[in-house]
């Protein structure tokens, strides 16, 4: 198997920026239409009243919060994986990092929209910001929702920096291989990058600092998202396991999202030489580990509840285990545990196709997991008189579909203006610049990859 080098890398990875086929415009129009539909749905909800949704008493949170937790979870794909792989200097990460970091940023942007879609008076959402109000009123710092606000903003800022910093040398590469208006734009974006030893040194230092700083931030973000639930005295919510359980689930769904994105990019942008079966296999192994961890957390949560045998917890427990939510629950278990274990645990199935099928399963399963945490508990809270259930309405389904389209749209546009695989990192792996970039040494290289 030959590996692209030098000029070939630049040509292959800059090509998607310069060549645009009609397929690109068709897909942009398709996803754009869905996004517009979602926007119309949200505006009509604001205009006609929140009653258009399926939310009712006592299930006050539904699809929107499910989507919120889901997308914040997906955002753990990137930055966390890329930061950890960067720190342990795993050579195979090089073609993967930017795909992953872009997912993080876009998923966070989408996830952060959901609190706005979800609240009753979105035009007053700025009250979450601790701005100097003339009435000296601050947000309530005891509220997990305020913690969310800070955690997500910190993570978004960090992820943006983490994405943008290593893009600078690549903007310079694009600048040097284009002409006309494109060159002018990329010249501005490249921020005067010349590739001097000083600049490389600064970039590497900044990336090291960011990689170390972003890991605790990522862990804290999803722990705080889990606090939205575990801080409220609701049966099956108030549990100490939610912090690590949510973080594990987030990384799990994040890897799944990353594998799907990589497979699509590989096919559409003809990056077969860069995103190799080995990358899918390695990410598949990582996902297998997370599937086992997820299974452990769910088993733990369920077993402790069952032994505790509190009457209110058991009402929710049986609702998901055996009664009305059981079909969804067991679908979740199959998607999140059985399917990955078979497809990723048996080497013969751990191909690109196998990994992608398992990833779709995990994305569906993790979405269901969040839904099953929120709705059954709220519908069976303490007083039997106030038990209820929830059916999503058209606006909620439309907005949910629209966010998936928005993710595809943002990702496609991003891949059109930025080389989706980090050119300089690929080259650095091949031709280590002396003393500037830690080279991928022999022992870090896995399989037959020599990038």
């Amino acid at each position: 198997m030959t590996h692209p080098t030098g000029q070939q890398i630049t040509r292959d990875l800059v090509r998607p920026l310069l060549l645009t086929t009609w397929r690109f415009y068709v897909m942009i129009a398709l996803f754009g239409a869905f996004v517009v539909a979602g926007l119309v749905a949200w505006l009509s909800q604001v205009y006609f009243g929140f009653g258009l949704s399926g939310i009712n008493w006592p299930v006050f949170w539904g699809f929107y919060i499910t989507n919120f937790v889901f997308w914040i979870g997906i955002s753990h794909a990137g930055t966390l994986i890329s930061a950890i792989l960067r720190l342990v200097n795993a050579g195979w990460r090089r073609p993967v990092t930017r795909c992953a970091e872009a997912i993080t940023t876009f998923a966070l942007l989408i996830g952060a929209m959901f609190p706005l879609i979800h609240i009753g008076r979105p035009w007053l959402a700025f009250w979450l910001i601790p701005y100097p109000s003339e009435r000296l009123i601050w947000p309530n710092f005891r509220s997990p929702l305020v913690w969310d606000f800070f955690a997500i903003n910190t993570y978004l800022t960090g992820s943006l920096l983490f994405l943008l910093l290593p893009m600078i040398p690549d903007f310079a590469v694009v600048r040097d291989s284009t002409t006309g208006i494109r060159q002018k734009i990329y010249r501005v974006l490249a921020l005067g990058w010349r590739g001097t030893p000083k600049q490389w040194h600064r970039l590497e230092s900044a990336m090291q600092i960011m990689a170390i700083a972003i890991i605790p931030v990522a862990v804290s973000v999803h722990t705080i998202v889990s606090f939205d639930f575990s801080m409220a005295p609701v049966p099956m919510w108030q549990t100490t396991i939610f912090g690590p359980y949510f973080v594990a689930g987030a990384i799990f769904s994040g890897i799944a999202g990353l594998i799907i994105a990589m497979a699509v990019l590989r096919r559409l942008l003809h990056l077969e030489d860069y995103l190799r079966p080995l990358h899918f296999e390695n990410l598949g192994k990582l996902m297998l580990v997370m599937a086992l961890l997820w299974g452990y957390f769910v088993f733990n949560e369920r077993l402790v509840t069952y032994y505790g045998n509190g009457p209110h917890e058991m009402a929710v427990f049986w609702r998901t285990q055996r009664l009305s939510f059981a079909p969804l629950y067991w679908t979740m278990v199959v998607c999140n545990f059985v399917l990955p274990l078979i497809l990723l645990g048996i080497r013969r199935f751990r191909t690109i196709t196998g990994c992608v099928i398992a990833s779709f399963g995990v994305v569906i399963g993790m979405w269901l997991e969040r839904y099953l945490i929120i709705v059954p508990s709220l519908g069976a809270k303490y007083l039997p008189y106030s038990h209820g259930t929830y059916t999503p309405e058209l606006v909620e389904v439309t907005i949910t579909v629209a966010t998936f389209a928005a993710m595809c749209l943002l990702y496609m546009l991003f891949a059109k203006v930025v080389p989706i695989i980090s050119i300089w990192e690929l080259k650095a792996g091949e031709h280590p610049s002396p003393a500037l970039i830690p080279p991928a040494t022999e022992k870090h290289q896995l399989g037959d990859l020599h990038l």
Partner: protein
């Protein structure tokens, strides 16, 4: 500072629902219509819960009026990001409608499900719109609302007593539900005053709090039923 509380004598409650109607009238609670009520959006700040016990034909029907329990350690308060839900000095869980952005987090945290969300702007079946209470603000779409112990009456009586340079007498303040209860099942008053009727009833051996194990420390005491019907 008084600590307002209520005692509900389940032995006296006949489940007539007079308190529910009085509450709607006093507090400008909009009627949502049958379709919305069917999907679970009826707003009854005070509701009569009905529980059947035993198997047919030996069925016993129990009533329990449930309103906001005005908890001392209210789970709805710390979770609100904007302080719309906060504690007053006289032991009420205040809900500041104008400060509410509608996260509905308080409603999830409330173990009693005593909080209600305005899914649409308020409207009334004619001619109910002609009887709105000028002392109570209307709530717009997207905010939470709940029983206030008729805070407008508490404040009015407090102002009156202050003007006359005296304390509020026991029984002087009657929330709409208490006033309208024909069986005198509901008693309202100051729990700090050991001689008030409500604190005497709250100390009764028949008394218990609803869902006491959630640790919310509610201000409403339920007196259990003795007569067998």
């Amino acid at each position: 500072m008084p600590q307002w509380g209520m005692a509900v004598d389940l032995d006296r409650c006949t489940g007539c629902g007079g308190c529910v109607v009085a509450c709607h009238a006093e507090n400008n609670i909009s009627t949502v219509g049958d379709e919305q009520a069917a999907v679970g959006r009826a707003k009854h700040w005070l509701r009569i819960e009905r529980y059947w016990e035993g198997d047919f034909p030996d069925v016993r029907l129990k009533f329990r009026p449930v309103m906001c329990q005005q908890c001392d350690n209210a789970p709805c308060e710390p979770v609100c990001p904007t302080y719309a839900s906060h504690h007053t000095d006289d032991g009420l869980n205040a809900q500041v409608y104008n400060r509410c952005i509608g996260t509905r987090y308080c409603a999830n945290a409330c173990p009693y499900n005593a909080r209600f969300f305005d899914f649409f702007n308020p409207s009334w079946d004619k001619p109910l719109q002609l009887q709105l209470n000028p002392d109570v603000s209307l709530r717009e779409v997207g905010v939470m609302e709940k029983c206030t112990f008729c805070v407008q009456r508490i404040r009015a009586a407090g102002t009156q007593a202050k003007a006359e340079e005296r304390d509020v007498a026991d029984g002087e303040i009657q929330p709409a539900c208490v006033q309208s209860c024909g069986a005198r099942a509901l008693v309202f008053g100051d729990l700090e005053n050991p001689s008030s009727e409500v604190s005497r009833l709250s100390r009764s051996p028949r008394g218990s709090k609803l869902l006491e194990d959630t640790g919310a420390q509610p201000s409403v005491t339920y007196l259990s039923r003795l007569t067998q019907v």
